[in-house]
């Protein structure tokens, strides 16, 4: 993939619609969380969101209600988001599938997201995710530009292999700086 053009702030892989279609149904590599689900990041998130839910502020209550400390469900994807820089970063790091699928467009926005949870995200969980492109729409004219809608499914598991959540995202890949 090193000879491919990449574009935009996300380093999106640029290609044709037909190239994109060949990626449907291919499971991604397993992407592992850098860090376990941890209290410090949970606190930073709920403090920024202004979430007063005592599960995230009162360890005793969380243990009583959930059997352990827990993270907000909205942080699901944060745990498997790669850091922007680290000393051992590979020249071609494993990237999110939606970045690696070749398609026209230098930008993307999330259109809709559906997540089903089977358990809490628990402090100490080391999550991993396997993604798969389920479908790619034909070219559409949208409010923000011309592009394609991708549906990506992600299955999130903890280190024991237990399924914690399934996410289904619809993303628009489009030309933000004008079509080529």
């Amino acid at each position: 993939m090193s000879d491919r053009e990449s574009a935009g702030a996300y380093g999106l892989c640029v290609g044709t619609y037909e190239e994109g279609l060949t990626h449907i149904g291919r499971p991604s590599e397993v992407r592992f969380a850098d860090l376990p689900v941890n209290e410090a990041m949970v606190r930073q998130f709920v403090s920024a969101v202004h979430d007063p839910n005592p599960l995230y502020w009162d360890e005793d209550l969380a243990s009583q209600v959930c059997g352990s400390g827990v993270a907000p469900p909205a942080m699901l994807t944060t745990w498997v988001t790669p850091q922007n820089w680290r000393p051992d970063y590979l020249p071609e790091p494993v990237t999110a599938l939606l970045v690696a699928v070749p398609l026209p467009g230098d930008s993307m926005i999330n259109i809709s997201s559906e997540i089903e949870f089977f358990d809490h995200l628990r402090i100490g969980d080391r999550l991993n995710v396997v993604e798969e492109v389920e479908s790619i729409s034909e070219e559409k004219q949208t409010r923000v530009g011309t592009g394609h809608y991708l549906t990506v499914v992600g299955r999130f598991r903890r280190q024991s292999g237990e399924l914690v959540a399934i996410q289904r995202n619809v993303i628009l890949r489009f030309w933000a700086r004008g079509a080529q």
Binding site: F45, H50, N53, L61
Partner: protein
């Protein structure tokens, strides 16, 4: 002393289809948008760089990342229903971005209440329809969430 008595919690039995959630208002400022984006490691221009959000993406200002928006939706429901409410499923659609400077208004309504045994055990579920509107009264975020609530009387 029971800690459980110290937090507010609705039971499934106390909730009825058609119940409205109390409305809520939240003013988004620049710091808030940046803090929420960085807390999810989402260092994308649209969320942290006003020039990029305006010139490359045509927004009025930087706008909230998806994860934190989901956090706002979940906060709205659990603030009403209580911390023992387990989010079983949530679908969300963006119509407009939530930009720095917007005053967000939350509304919600219970659309369904049922018992479910699809996972091999009984779950007492409710479904809530949720909306976040901006200053211009446009619905920006539309969501449907399913929560499992405890079954207790009173």
């Amino acid at each position: 002393m029971s800690r459980r008595a110290q937090h507010h919690q609705l039971t499934w039995d106390q909730v009825a289809e058609g119940d409205e959630l109390p409305s809520d208002v939240d003013r988004l400022d620049v710091e808030r948008v940046v803090a929420t984006a960085t807390s999810t490691w989402t260092f994308f221009g649209g969320h942290i760089d006003a020039d990029y959000a305006r010139s490359a993406q045509g927004r009025s200002h930087i706008y909230m990342a998806t994860g934190p928006i989901l956090g706002l939706l979940d906060r709205y429901v659990t603030s009403w229903a209580g911390p023992e409410s387990f989010l079983a499923k949530r679908s969300m659609r963006m119509a407009e971005s939530l930009c720095a400077g917007d005053e967000l208004r939350f509304e919600g309504r219970v659309t369904k209440k049922w018992m479910d045994d699809a996972r091999g055990y009984d779950r007492a579920l409710i479904e809530v329809d949720l909306k976040i509107r901006n200053d211009a009264d446009k619905p920006c975020v539309l969501a449907t969430s399913v929560y499992e609530l405890p079954r207790r009387s009173g």
